[in-house]
Amino acid sequence: MPLVVQLRDVAYAYPGGPPVLRDVDLAVEAGEFVAIAGPNGGGKTTLLRVALGLERPTHGTALLFGEPAQHATRRSRIGYLAQRARLGVEAPVTVRELVSAGLVARRGVLARPTAEDRARVEDAIARVDLTAQASRMVSRLSGGQQQRAFVAKALAARPELLVLDEPTAGVDVDAQESLARLLGELHRDLGVTILLVSHEFGAVEPLVDRLVLVRGSIVFDGSPGALPPTWHDPSHAHV
């Protein structure tokens, strides 16, 4: 299977700071569902940012769809859900408008939406079960519904790689289970490659093919079932 994400001997340090990542080797194949876990400050979000080309590694190589990650040209294949704290849900935006914004990269900044684009938007909204709320303001939805609206935005362009950074932070158990079901369907039905960063998995854990534990470097990479019992809580500081 072709590699979607590849990190070779990667190290990273923020300017003037100590190394956050070192000796990282990771290869994610098309169609895999990979969870990246680890304690807060362990470097999992930094690893994701390096993999997506948002940060340049201080050592080693990061490839995205086989190209240097910082200069990758096939970015419109990526659906990305950033950490909730970074999203501007205070804006007076409806669910439909938010999801439509996910199509800008694929169709180009100057293009006007086509009938096919509008169908894609409605399809993405239906997939996260928000059709009844499509015309409502995102700011008036519950936390779990807001999260699903942003997932729909990431899905609108029908990505080959779906990247989610802490999608379960700050949402209730029902919303986590709903997200788990959705990710399971996407992975099973559409073959989407999923890269999920979280320090708590809950309902998602049974669905993932691989669990990657990061604490400065990768300390475990394998099936969740192979995780040593003493490491079962991937967020625990002793990882």
Binding site: L52, L54, T73, R74, R75, S76, I78, G79, Y80, L81, A82, R86, L87, G88, A91, P92, V93, T94, E97, L98, S100, A101, G102, V104, A105, R106, V109, L110, P113, S135, M137, F150, K153, A154, A157, P159, V163
Partner: protein, 269 residues
């Protein structure tokens, strides 16, 4: 009121600025850059002073300085997003300091300078109106063409960057557009108040809007309404036009805030 040519020119220039300023400010407010207009305004002040010093049209030098300052703020912000407020402060204070030095060198601390600081819409000439019309129409056309892209960046900049939207280019374009807006709006409300016309109609509209598109259109309507009502009040009440326009916009915000709160209370109970 419209028997006087100066009022016809004032309303024509004001109507364009009343549409343009909130249209550009809309995306800045969504990106939490509401105060960037103040920073660019201070650079525009330095540009006006430079114009006086070298004997070139102050509007032209202010236009160049505003666009350059706006792009500089954006470049500094992009390099260190966590220190964006420092970038704004750096440009803000450097601009005002340069303006003071250049004004004193040019010996231009006079009524003409105050016209740029506080606005002088009643002295707009046909030439001023032509400049405002051309740049205003170009700015509004750019906003219309790039509306979806600007919105995508304003809503979720990092996600847009990851998926390949040219975020850096769009941000520089928006900053340049803000610079142009400040420069063409100087005569209407003045350097010290132009940022208000970019922000207050947007915050008012956001309180009562039902979608992003409606918020943008409402903001432009409130901006235009504030200019027209403010000019009318200034004509009949012998008030300073710039201040009157901004106070009307502030009143619109107060009305929208009270109205939306009352509506929310009525809905819940």
């Amino acid at each position: 009121m419209f028997d006087s040519e100066f009022m016809r020119l004032a309303f024509a220039a004001g109507a364009i600025v009343g549409l343009l300023a909130p249209a550009v400010g809309f995306f800045l407010v969504q990106r939490r850059l509401s105060l960037i207009g103040d920073g660019i305004g201070h650079i525009a002040f330095a540009g006006v002073a430079l114009g006086y010093l070298i004997g070139v049209s102050p509007v032209l030098t202010a236009l160049i300085a505003s666009v350059a300052g706006a792009v500089l703020i954006e470049v500094l912000r992009a390099r260190r997003p966590e220190a964006a407020d420092q970038a704004l402060a750096l440009v803000f204070y450097t601009g005002i300091a340069a303006g003071v030095v250049l004004v004193s060198s040019a010996g231009a601390l006079d009524a003409n300078l105050f016209a740029f600081l506080f606005g002088s819409i009643l002295t707009v000439t046909h030439g001023d109106l032509a400049l405002v019309a051309v740049l205003g129409a170009a700015g509004l056309a750019l906003v219309a063409v790039l509306y979806r892209a600007f919105a995508a960046v304003a809503l979720d900049e990092e996600s847009a960057r990851v998926s390949g939207v040219p975020v850096g280019l769009l941000n520089v374009l928006l900053a340049g557009l803000a610079g142009v807006t400040i420069a063409v709006s100087m005569r209407v409300v003045g350097i010290l108040l132009i940022a208000a016309l970019m922000v207050l109609p947007v915050t008012a509209a956001s309180r009562v809007a039902w979608s992003l598109r409606s918020a943008l259109l409402l903001a432009m309507a409130i901006g235009d309404g504030s200019v027209c009502l403010g000019l009318t009040l200034s004509y009949y009440g012998d008030l300073a036009p710039g201040g009157a326009i901004v106070l009307v916009a502030a009143g619109a915000f107060a009305l929208a805030a009270v109205g939306s709160s009352a509506f929310a209370r009525a809905r819940t109970g």
